[in-house]
Amino acid sequence: MIEKGKISSLQMAMIMYPVVVATGDLFIPAVTAKHANRDLWISPLWGSLIGFFVVYIIFQLHKLFPKETLIQQTERIFGRIVGKIIGISFLFVMLQINSQIIRQYGQFVGNVFLVKTPILIVIGSIVLVCGFAVRGGLEVIARCAQLFVPIVLLTWVLFFILLIPDMEPRNMLPIMAKGILPSIKGAIPQAAIFEHFVLLTFMLPYLTDLKKGMKWGVISVFITMLTLVLITMSSLFIFGDITSELAFPVMIAIRYIEMAGFIEHLEALMMAIWVIGTFLKISTYYYVFVLGISQWLHLSDYRPMVFPSGFLLIAFSIWVATDVQEFLHFLSTVSYFQSASFEIGIPTILLLAALAQKKIRKNKEGKKG
């Protein structure tokens, strides 16, 4: 076992929460709104179904091959060569998705807050900090999550409360005027982030209390869904129809807060909270990649891989797209398929293959005996 740390299932749930919510509260509402319009708050409900599905599959795989992560499981199920190919492509996609996230982060912070700062500094600084966390290992990431997630949650609640005077719940009506289709179309970007729950496969082997693991996994999906529903609902209540026209409705909503004459323009605070959430998300993906590569190469320790992976991440995030339009286009079309096929598709195929193998083995033994 390369990773000697152990985490509890509560910590695991806490790690996964910002992984989804960090981008889900920034980039996703706009895309969802474009498809779903007033029903955009229903979309997270559909998206969470994917979340539950992924959690279930990962758990079943873990039951069949305990104490192993996806990379090790693929080698078991498909044999060394095919397993290694699948493993490396999975890891490559992890790297890619992570660099997309980093690029989005850099784009957002760069365009809105630190306009003149070169994007390399913004990206480099966050990768460096995440590198420190990954070097510390799973336990450190879990502890950071335990410390930060309550703060992030509380701040979101605070923002929500501060926005209540400006909300108009009537904007929600009529519900599902055009039927169920818009909210389902809007659920596609939501599903794209709920797929991130596949990262659980890299944490399950290190749980101290595996029995509670499934329970906490489900709770994590549920609370994530609730948060996303609340966030999308609040932007809908404030902006109504123009939600789909705004690039970052949540941020503009927070910018809209003005209370007691002096609480205003809190978006810098929101950026701080969002950076914390993104830090946790990037660190988790980063850790998964480092651990995965170390397992794929059968290394004894993953620590030397941390900083070289960091460089790779920075380079990839620059290469992902040449400019913003191309990037946005990629995000709204190709990326769904890429992430879906790897984050949902591969685990499902693995599980089916494993179950099939089990059945064949059973039949063989049945015939023998």
């Binding site: 420190f132 450190v140 879990a142 502890r143 950071c144 205003e264 810098a268 950076v275």
Partner: protein, 526 residues
């Protein structure tokens, strides 16, 4: 010859001593026993103690017949007691035969003595202030427990005053400190082990713990780490602190140091281990968490609601002490839209003629403040209060008037200063004070993003720290809900039923159930 080397290495003997090798008998290879001939012993000791003005060699006859030698260090031994209870009874009377050690021992009207067999032990006892009596033709000498020296009386610890609670503090004498602890914990399960460290200082270190409460592995680990220390001298517990901590490169202290016996006793009752060092009133307690370092023993003597409020206030101000200047600089130079308009207009008015950018102004003021604080510690008491008034008011005022700094900046720096005084444990306070400078630099470069990244890095570091195996951020991360009631708030004593998880796991309950008080509870016994 290698035994000689050992003496040299242990610091007993300087390598320039002219002891000839054949005088040393190597029986066990480890110790050099006393010889039967008093003269030989005298010669050896005189050579060892050559040029040692402070050692007294007193030759006398016991009962007029037996030759005896009393060695002691004037100033460390109680001369009156020696004269009265040792020399007088021994010199009296006559005897025909050679007196042996047991007979001599009976003549001495003292309660505590022990036998010494080797030169090493003789030197050890004499250095500790215990006179050693060597008798001609006897294998063993007698070390008498008659050490006495001038020391400070028990006073209130200067650096840790409290309003409500005991005002005793440790002193520099180990036996006094031990007695202070023994007055608090009166159980035979209270164990103390001793180690001697430092080649030249031979400082006695006592490791105290309560058996059954402290994890035996922990005690063993502490002893291992202490015994590993091999240095010239251990003058203060700080030396030991740096030699046994888990992460020497961290800005945060990983051991709790305190001058208060009640604090130490409370920690011991939670299953921790304490290290007392002779010569310093500062006692070390391990393991510790960040939250223990942010507590004051007074928290437990006041009522729980008050203590909880003060605890929250303290946490708030710890954060302020760390980030206030950075956030101020960040918002003022990068995120001016966050400031309420009225405030921004007045700040811009007051900054109109300031030559420095906000970042340098902040750096300047903070460094000046730190310098003032350090200077204030070194000043004699009479001048101290005047300087604080001078420093705070006049300099701040004058600097603003001269147009060097703006008054909002002085406000922020003053607030930070006050906030850092809120931290009861000095070393922790220093760590936080130190860390705000990198945060300020980050704020100056990247604004609020820099501050957030800096804070994240600090948190990551805190999460990787361990103190003797206990994660530094327990019980917040990893989350132990049972222990949270003593961290987030201060639960009343009748609710603190369980011992902290990581140290007292073996013995969970510290109270019997149903301790909640009430007016009806008095009748229960009837």
């Amino acid at each position: 010859m290698d035994v000689f080397k050992k003496l040299v290495r242990k610091g007993y003997v300087s390598s320039q001593t002219k002891i000839s090798a054949d005088k040393l008998q190597d029986i066990t290879g480890m110790q050099i026993p006393l010889s039967l001939e008093l003269n030989e012993n005298l010669q050896t000791l005189q050579t060892i103690y050559e040029n040692c003005l402070y050692v007294v060699f007193h030759n006398f006859l016991i009962s007029g017949k037996t030759n005896a030698l009393l060695i002691f260090i004037e100033g460390l031994s109680d001369k009156d007691m020696i004269n009265e209870y040792v020399l007088t009874p021994l010199s009296q009377g006559t005897s025909e035969v050679q007196e042996s050690t047991p007979i001599v021992q009976n003549k001495i009207s003292l309660s505590n003595h022990k036998e010494v067999k080797t030169f090493e032990e003789v030197i050890e006892q004499v250095s500790m202030g215990n006179p050693v009596l060597l008798i001609d033709k006897e294998m063993n000498g007698i070390a008498l427990n008659l050490s006495k020296w001038e020391h400070r009386s028990i006073q209130e610890p200067v650096a840790e005053p409290i309003i409500k609670g005991p005002r005793e503090g440790f002193t520099e004498t180990l036996s006094v400190n031990m007695s202070l602890l023994l007055r608090k914990i009166k159980s035979p399960l209270f164990k103390m082990n001793s180690v001697k460290l430092g080649r030249y200082t031979q400082t006695q270190i006592v490791v105290a713990y309560i058996e059954g409460l402290a994890d035996p592995n922990l005690v063993q680990e502490v002893m291992n780490r202490l015994e590993r220390i091999d240095m010239d001298g251990v003058l203060e517990s700080g030396y030991i602190e740096e030699m046994i901590e888990d992460n020497p490169f961290s800005p945060f202290p990983q051991l709790l140091t305190t001058e208060r016996p009640d604090a130490v006793a409370a920690q011991l009752l939670e299953g921790r281990v304490s290290i007392l060092v002779d010569g310093t009133p500062i006692v070390i307690v391990v393991p510790t968490t960040l939250f223990s370092l942010l507590q004051s023993p007074e928290d437990y003597y006041q009522r729980f609601m008050i203590s909880s409020m003060i605890r929250w206030l303290r946490y708030l101000f710890v954060v302020i002490a760390l980030v206030a200047p950075s956030v101020y600089v960040a918002i003022l130079t990068y995120h001016q839209e966050m400031v309420p308009t009225t405030l921004l207009l007045s700040i811009s008015k007051s900054r109109e003629d300031i030559p420095f950018p906000a970042f340098f102004e902040a750096l300047l003021m903070e460094i000046t403040f730190e310098a003032l604080r350090e200077a204030g510690i070194r000043l004699p008491k009479q001048v101290g209060s005047a300087v604080s008034i001078v420093g705070a008011l006049v300099i701040g005022q004058a600097a603003t008037a001269a147009g060097l700094v703006s008054s909002p900046m002085v406000m922020v720096v003053a607030l930070t200063g006050i906030a850092s005084f809120m931290i009861p444990h000095y070393s922790t306070g220093v760590s936080f004070r130190l860390l705000r400078f990198p945060l300020m630099i980050l704020a100056g470069i990247l604004g609020l993003l820099g501050v957030v990244l800096g804070m994240i890095t600090i948190v990551i570091h805190l999460c990787t720290l361990r103190s003797f195996g206990v994660p530094y951020m327990t019980p917040l991360a990893p989350m132990k809900t049972r222990d949270m009631k003593d961290v987030l708030v201060r639960a009343p004593w009748w609710m603190l039923k369980t011992r902290p998880h990581l140290t007292g796991a073996g013995n969970k309950y510290r109270q019997s159930p149903g301790e909640i008080p009430g007016s009806s509870k008095g009748d229960e016994s009837e």
